[in-house]
Subunit: 429 residues, 2 copies
């Protein structure tokens, strides 16, 4: 099935936003066996949109649009496709009721232009958009399938995953299966990993093995192609075993699992609570932890001790330590963790203190220097890091390292009470 994706919007042609919708759609469609052969971007202009639709209908079987379904005059996608297919539009009551409910829930008055969003081309299948007011639409005409998706990335993904992809499975059951499985690693650098896996990757074509470095973690993606789901699963399982035989110790999770989720599960299963004393991460670790539903079960609370006064008064870091060793030091990190554990009353506490930059670095304490300490029933320990990158990258890398330290500590405590001596952790940068 030949697919053309038409992304609409003047903001794309002005270079104001990256076309992330297309990249995501392309990944998903290729995975499902569609041939994405063309992608076109056009502005909210009726004449040019008409031309583009005429061309696409000639060269593709499935034409997918994103954007242009909003309430404003500039939103013309639905109107142009209805015109192209020569069908009328009608007010769809289900869509209208959904818009009504959604806006009432948010206490927003319905505006006159919201009515436009409830208009549906005759004969179109409505793809419910639970996250927004513009539904997705499927219109079959002249042997071609026109699929209209909302522009906001979150809504587009939601409509695809909940409505469009299940529809594809029924409508195009003959397409082959491509499956992906991702291993998530921390504590090892991309180049090291590529070296270790070089032999395996070189001899491998199905599944393919791809490495991606993201802030503070590395992904290994295995992608298998087969005629059945079971076939693809077997290919992946076989390769995963080979890969984990050499780098399994660095794997902390799979696919959509995040480090905060994995740490949360570990805390839950051990019935342990946690607290953070954050300095240079400024709340990021706690915010990432609380992105996980149900995190109040194990995260008791945190203190963002952004100034020395708070470090001293709220979590009792001694004034002597702060003045003699400085806020960015092993000693301060350890006292922060100990203090946070006492004040908040958690089983385990993690502290983060460092220099996120861009200013404030010195020769002895450069930007990127971060101390992360842990305090629990077994005592305290500290790790020292030198992260590279911008201010927000350093914050993120420190946050990942802090959660990784907590995870290691929980797993260690099963076998040993040994204290960790401070040493540089290089691979996490």
């Amino acid at each position: 099935m030949k697919v053309e994706v038409i992304t609409t919007g003047t903001e794309l042609l002005l270079g104001e936003i990256l076309n992330t919708n297309f990249t995501w759609l392309a990944q998903q469609l290729n995975l499902r066996g569609f041939d994405v052969l063309y992608q076109t971007t056009v502005g909210d202009n009726p004449k040019r949109m008409k031309e583009i639709l005429d061309i696409a209908a000639k060269r593709a079987d499935i034409i997918i649009t994103s954007g242009g379904l909003g309430p404003t005059r500039g939103d013309i996608t639905k109107e142009m496709i209805a015109e192209h297919c020569g069908v009328d539009m009608y007010m769809n009551l289900e869509v209208w009721n959904h818009i009504h409910d959604l806006l009432s829930k948010r206490n927003i008055c319905i505006a006159e232009n919201n009515e436009k969003q409830a208009l549906v081309p005759s004969g179109a299948i409505v793809l419910h958009n639970e996250a927004g007011t513009a539904p997705g639409l499927i219109l079959e005409h002249g042997g071609k399938t026109f699929i209209m998706l909302p522009g906001p990335p979150f809504e587009l993904k939601n409509v695809c995953e909940k409505e469009l992809f299940p529809y594809f499975e029924q409508r195009f059951p003959h397409l082959g299966i491509i499956k992906s499985h991702t291993l998530k690693l921390r504590g090892i650098g991309e180049s090291n990993l590529a070296d270790i896996l070089d032999e395996i990757i070189f001899h491998q074509s199905n599944p393919t093995i791809a490495l991606y470095a993201r802030r503070g973690e590395i992904l290994i993606r295995l992608t298998a192609k087969a005629s059945t789901e079971e076939g693809a699963d077997a290919l992946i399982a076989n390769m995963q075993e080979k890969v984990e035989k050499v780098v399994g110790t660095y794997v902390y999770g799979y696919d959509d699992e995040t480090l905060p989720e994995v740490l949360g599960k570990e805390l839950l299963s051990r019935q342990q609570t946690i607290a953070f004393a954050e300095s240079c991460t400024g709340g990021l670790v706690s915010s990432m932890m609380t992105d996980v539903p149900g995190s109040s079960e194990y995260l008791k609370g945190s203190v963002i001790s952004y100034t020395d006064v708070i470090k001293n008064q709220v979590i009792h870091v001694s004034k002597t330590t702060l003045s003699k060793k400085g806020a960015v030091s092993e000693e301060t990190a350890i006292e922060m963790a100990r203090g946070a554990r006492e004040v908040i009353g958690s089983d385990i506490a993690i502290s983060i203190t460092g220099l996120a930059g861009p200013g404030g670095g010195t020769r002895k304490k450069p930007v990127g220097l971060v101390y992360i300490a842990v305090a629990d029933a077994n005592g305290e320990a500290c790790r020292k890091f030198n992260f590279g990158g911008t201010r927000t990258q350093i914050k993120h890398r420190a946050a990942m390292a802090a959660m990784g330290f907590a995870l290691d500590r929980l797993k260690e405590s099963s076998h040993t009470n040994a204290e960790e001596t401070i040493h540089d952790h290089d691979a996490d940068r």
Copy 2:
């Protein structure tokens, strides 16, 4: 001058990489007064590439390609354009020498297929690529200008800045300037704003006015076209005045300014410090505030009181309030703000307590219900919100509203000491 950009490469159609080349080119071309009307992506396939070139040559004056100039068989852009224009290729000695020098410097042996990169269509202008082996090329044919650029983003930018843009200035001196200016609003919904601005937008063509909704904020983008930069600036200033006359109270910043930056500047200029007591936002507000370099000047610290025990023990919310009114209530929010201000010793403190979901909602206190309170020298005040969306969206919307409340309070304190009574804030959702 109508421009079509053709980005080539199977990796784009597979969704393996984001099309950053196009976004950058679009920005640069618009700035220089070109009308970027179409963008097309096509794979390394001769038949489809030929079709795309035929279509582009019909509808655009300038056709710019990126990618497909490499040494492999899959690199076909130059060959296809030479064929389209009916011209031969010849071995260009300058290009050949450059390839030779570059590879020797990198200690790479010249491969046979590097010769292909030194082939240049007859009559083409060579754009020197100091960073790579594939030169850019300009070929004029039949009143159309074909511009071929290398695919690697660094090489593409380099060739454009050093060779192509200076050429444009000589070749198209008559082109005007397009400038954009963005107003950033909070506290009003997109549909309401569209209704209010409908008349202005409808009668407006230069500058154009576009509205974009992002999480917790709305952007109004004014884009003006003129023969000089001064002319464009004047058009924008004039329209900005009209727009701000009706919705100016919702504008908090311009262009790349973020709400944490604007709030930070306001705190700095008033020499005020701030602290947050975060419950449902879980550290997000503090993390956003500390993304701004130098935020330690005004953010003293925060407490993430994720459990009732911490609300009571660390920031002194009374047990009676917690048990009688509940953690998500106006009373708790106010005591949190008051307590955080005392414990952390800041001039102003903001508290956020609510239900981020997905679980835990009741009929009386549904998911999305959030109370935000402020405490400062003038006393305390509270606002109640009902946010829609997922857990992370609710967190983000609450964070934006919290920073907005702080900003309002700082600005209010200039004129009045009046307390704010609690009322639903609808527009921020």
